[in-house]
């Protein structure tokens, strides 16, 4: 019997581990935790989060960590900037890399130059006044020290046609240039923009890219004595993750040690210490396997939160060992099984509501927790007794009876009153109860965020928050609509509502626009005549502009420039980021720069149903709030089902109240206490409150067991140990610096003791008679 059981367990464990190992590694793609798009705007948002060129943008600054006396600091920084740009361009994951130097290769510039009269608006269609003005301006430039870089092109391009091309997109009008590269305003840092081609929220893919960049930069001979600062959504997400992981690693090691010591002290058995971890281990492996089988892969967040929810599995072996006094584990397991099972099932029902959620991530979380609880129960009931057939527990009952005597019971009214007060308080807090500013949950310091804001402003890089999205049936229409938006955006720039914008039409005008420009180019004789009159009295050599006349004539015959012609140039990368053709249509993205008056953007949508304004910060806050509300609704539903189930099993209204009241009151009072303490509740608090319900239900069920007195003392002793270990683990988390961990830790550190006390207060007041009272010496 025992052998069979162990063999079966081994077989199952092997199977599960095989499934987990064969599965793709946990994904870190945050968008899985977004809903599968109810509205079009949300779908766009999900896509935007996944692929946005702005989200994938890294802002870089190089500064000197050690100044070098006698050497030119600016020249050193410029050399480091060029070396970093060169190395970034070699990485396959890098999109466009801009540092102010050599924006385009001579071949690309040549291509654009050929198309110059189609790509930009020739001023007033090259009439005499416009030509005269251009020639006078060129003369001024010839007289100035450091003429513009394109002055060698004067004979072919007297109107300097390409200068306005791609302003904003190619980093023109960007930061100041010194030594040929971008510098910050203070002049002590070189600036770069590096675009990653990887999905922005796939952190596992992004991490090696960012680390390679940093490591290779450190190894550059040009970078000796230089320090590289990277900001932007991707570096920030990576920093948050590594901070949280680092703290979790350290704190959970300390907590495990603490719990092990506690168990060793109480049970004086190494076997207990080691085997107590078995149900949790089984829960994690089975939970992962279940999610992998159902969803194909498990999300990193599911794993992290899921393990929190499985905190309940640690309690099961403690109950088992505590009840093994004077009998075998098998007998003890059989004795507590009904209570364990009921507690497990009620917890599982609470979590099962998550399975119904439209959020992929929440559904994963629900399945993970349910499968895990099932596994932990099975391991406690059948595996542990089979592994330790002759185990005997030392006496720990005094603990139970001394601290958790029955004197507490029968005060359910007080608990209900407290719960009522807490509810009233929570209702009075209204919306102030919840954390709506997602940024507050980020472990990134305010200094780093300020650094990002400053770099963004100095680089003229788009706001990570505001974006316009144009939907259209095809690419051509998308470009035409982007062009149509031009005057309205120019008006917004003029009145200071925004500082600028980027648009794919700045790189590739629509075919219609290119054809219209062609149609307006003057014929050869006409242009020659105008030029003759415009240059009268100016000192240009006779016949100097023959190449200009020839190029305009040639431009009238050019086929319009298309995206295909740009393939292989850095422009194609920029264009790809802003213009997407996908199934059923095309999308044009217009990132906005320096949005000062977000409310002014609203009027852009008037009469343009194809235009979508995306405020990423507001929209993601809304998403997370939806997520939270959905979770709340589902948990309430789960609780209702739990009550019905308990009714069916316990068949007595009073007992149901005794079991349901403590966890409910615990959650309400804990939430109220957190709120009183100035904490705003977030999704993370909510997941901790979920675990609290599970724990509280277990506590209440065990208190409700109609045990004989000796058994009762063992039960309560076990509950106290469970509670202490929970307090130990989550109390440590409450001290963590990362807001996410602090939220979970604090909630449970406050809630777990309250849960136990409430369960004791509500418990049936059956005082043991003096003669049956256990020896408490």
């Amino acid at each position: 019997m025992r052998r069979q059981r162990l063999g079966l367990a081994l077989l199952l464990a092997g199977l599960m581990v095989w499934v987990v190992l064969r599965a793709p590694p946990p994904t870190a793609d945050l968008t899985q935790f977004l809903p599968h798009g109810a509205t079009e705007a949300q779908q766009l948002l999900v896509g935007e989060l996944r692929e946005s060129p702005v989200a994938r943008l890294l802002l870089a600054r190089i500064r000197l960590s050690t100044p070098s006396p006698g050497e030119d600091d600016g020249a050193r920084l410029a050399a480091a900037s060029r070396a970093l740009a060169a190395l970034a361009r070699q990485l396959p994951a890098a999109g466009s890399v801009l540092n102010g130097d050599q924006l385009l290769s001579p071949e690309t510039t040549g291509l654009l130059f050929r198309y110059r009269y189609l790509l930009t608006d020739p001023a007033h269609h090259l009439d005499e006044a416009a030509l005269r003005q251009a020639l006078q301006q060129r003369l001024r430039e010839l007289a100035a020290p450091l003429g513009p870089p394109d002055r060698q092109r004067l004979p072919a391009d007297p109107t300097a046609a390409l200068r306005d091309y791609g302003v904003g997109l190619l980093g023109r009008n960007g930061p100041q240039r010194r030594y040929g590269v971008w510098f910050n305003r203070a002049g002590n840092g070189a600036l770069l923009l590096i675009e990653s081609r990887l999905p922005a929220f796939d952190l596992d893919a992004q991490a090696p890219f960012v680390h390679t960049l940093q490591q290779r930069f450190q190894a550059l001979p040009e970078a000796v004595g230089c320090e590289l600062t990277l900001t932007g959504p991707v570096p920030f997400a990576l920093e948050s993750r590594s901070r949280i992981q680092g703290q979790v690693g350290l704190l959970s090691a300390i907590a495990s040690l603490g719990v092990a010591l506690l168990l060793l002290l109480l049970f004086r058995s190494w076997a207990v210490v080691l085997l107590a971890a078995l149900p949790l281990l089984a829960a994690v492996v089975v939970g992962m396997a279940a999610v992998v089988v159902a969803f194909g892969a498990i999300h990193g967040i599911t794993l992290a939160f899921g393990i929190t929810l499985l905190g309940i599995a640690v309690d099961y072996p403690i109950h088992l060992f505590s009840h093994a006094r004077g009998r075998t584990l098998e007998a003890a397991a059989a004795a507590i099984w009904p209570t364990l099972l009921l507690g497990g099932i009620t917890s599982a029902i609470g979590f099962s509501a998550l399975l119904l959620s439209g959020f992929g991530g929440l559904a994963q979380l629900g399945l993970f927790a349910i499968a895990g609880i099932g596994a932990a129960l099975a391991a406690t009931r059948w595996l542990l007794p089979a592994l330790l057939p002759h185990f005997a527990t030392p006496a720990i009952t005094p603990l139970g009876s001394r601290w958790m005597g029955a004197r507490w019971g029968g005060r359910g009214v007080w608990v209900a009153l407290l719960a009522l007060l807490a509810t009233l308080y929570l209702i009075s807090r209204g919306a102030g109860l919840w954390e709506v500013e997602l940024a507050h949950l980020s472990p990134i310091s305010a200094e780093r965020k300020a650094e990002d804001g400053q770099l963004r402003q100095e680089l003229g890089a788009p706001d990570a928050r505001h974006l316009l999205v144009i939907t259209a049936a095809d690419q051509e229409t998308a470009l035409e609509r982007a062009e149509q938006l031009g005057p309205a955006l120019a008006a917004l720039i003029a009145n200071g509502a925004i500082a600028g914008y980027q648009s794919p039409a700045q790189l590739l005008p629509s075919r219609a626009t290119q054809r219209a420009r062609q149609a307006h180019l003057p014929a050869a004789e006409q242009l020659a005549e105008r030029l003759q009159r415009a240059s009268a009295g100016l000192p240009f050599k006779a016949g100097l502009f023959a190449p200009f006349l020839a190029d305009v004539a040639a431009s009238r015959q050019l086929p319009p420039l298309t995206q295909e012609v740009l393939v292989g140039t850095p422009l194609a990368l920029r264009l790809e980021a802003l213009l997407r053709v996908r199934e059923g249509g095309a999308l044009a993205l217009l990132p906005l720069i320096g949005v000062a008056q977000p409310q002014a953007l609203a009027q852009l949508g008037d009469g343009r149903p194809w235009l979508h304004r995306v405020d990423l910060a507001a929209a993601s806050a809304e998403l997370v709030n939806d997520y939270r509300d959905e979770a709340l609704r589902l948990v309430a539903l789960g609780l209702l089902v739990t009550v019905l189930l308990l009714w069916g099993v316990l068949r007595e209204g009073r007992r149901v109240v005794r079991v349901v009241l403590p966890p409910l009151a615990t959650v309400l009072v804990t939430a109220a206490l957190l709120s009183v303490g100035g904490v705003r509740l977030s999704l993370f608090h909510l997941s901790a409150l979920l675990l609290l319900i599970g724990l509280g239900l277990d506590y209440a069920l065990f208190f409700d067991r109609p045990d004989p007195p000796a058994e009762r003392a063992a039960t309560r002793g076990a509950l106290l140990i469970c509670n202490l270990s929970t307090l130990l683990v989550f109390g440590l988390l409450a001290g963590a610096a990362a807001p996410v961990l602090r939220a979970i830790g604090l909630t449970l550190a406050i809630g777990a003791p309250i849960g136990l006390i409430f369960a004791a207060l509500v418990a049936h007041n059956s005082r043991p008679s003096p003669e049956t009272r256990p020896d408490i010496s």
Binding site: D101, A143, A144, P148, G180
Partner: protein
């Protein structure tokens, strides 16, 4: 040949130095000692694109803090303030504007050619240029030929002429074929 003939040779070679005491070091000292202020100039700029040279007049301003300004009165009023590697343009009635050049690496050398000469900063000059001095204290010519490739793409040569600590002209020969000659008035 003995020890004596070697000594004699040494003395013979050092004679010119002893006689004039003129050289890069004294020139730089003299330039550095010249007070800052405004010097009138006339500039002629020859370009392969132009049938006649562009002529401008104005004042070259040396601020005590090392800033160099070129204030034109002809052909139109405009001031260029030259920083270590950029130029700011101030036109009356317009916001100041920064001129930047793509071939930036050479620009620092170009600007240093003017600024460091006026300031007598030999270390900076030698970082960017090969220096060659001809003539004597009463009439000298300093020829600056860029050392590195970036600067050579921009500048062929910068020739500075002067008398004692006073510069009388700058002649810039650009790689593009443009030549500009700036003649400076006396103190």
């Amino acid at each position: 040949m003995g020890r004596w003939s070697l000594l004699l040779l040494g003395v013979l070679y050092s004679l010119p130095l002893l006689a004039s005491e003129w050289g890069l070091e004294p020139l730089m000292r003299a330039l550095a000692a010249t007070p800052s202020g405004a010097i009138p100039f006339r500039e002629e700029r020859h370009s392969p694109f132009l049938a006649a040279p562009l002529v401008s007049r104005g004042q070259l301003i040396r601020e005590a803090d090392g800033r160099l300004g070129k204030r034109l009165s002809e052909p139109e009023p405009v001031t260029f303030w030259i920083d270590s590697e950029s130029v700011q343009v101030e036109r009356p009635g317009e916001p100041p504007q920064q001129l930047t050049a793509t071939d930036g690496a050479g620009v620092a050398a170009l600007i240093a050619g003017f600024r460091a000469t006026l300031a007598g900063d030999r270390a900076t000059l030698e970082r960017h240029y090969e220096l060659q001095l001809a003539g004597g204290q009463e009439g000298w010519r300093l020829t600056l030929v860029p050392r590195d490739g970036d600067a050579r793409q921009l500048i062929d040569r910068l020739t500075v002429e002067g008398r004692g600590g006073w510069i009388t002209s700058f002649t810039l020969e650009e790689a593009s074929g443009e030549v500009s000659r700036m003649e400076l008035g006396g103190p």
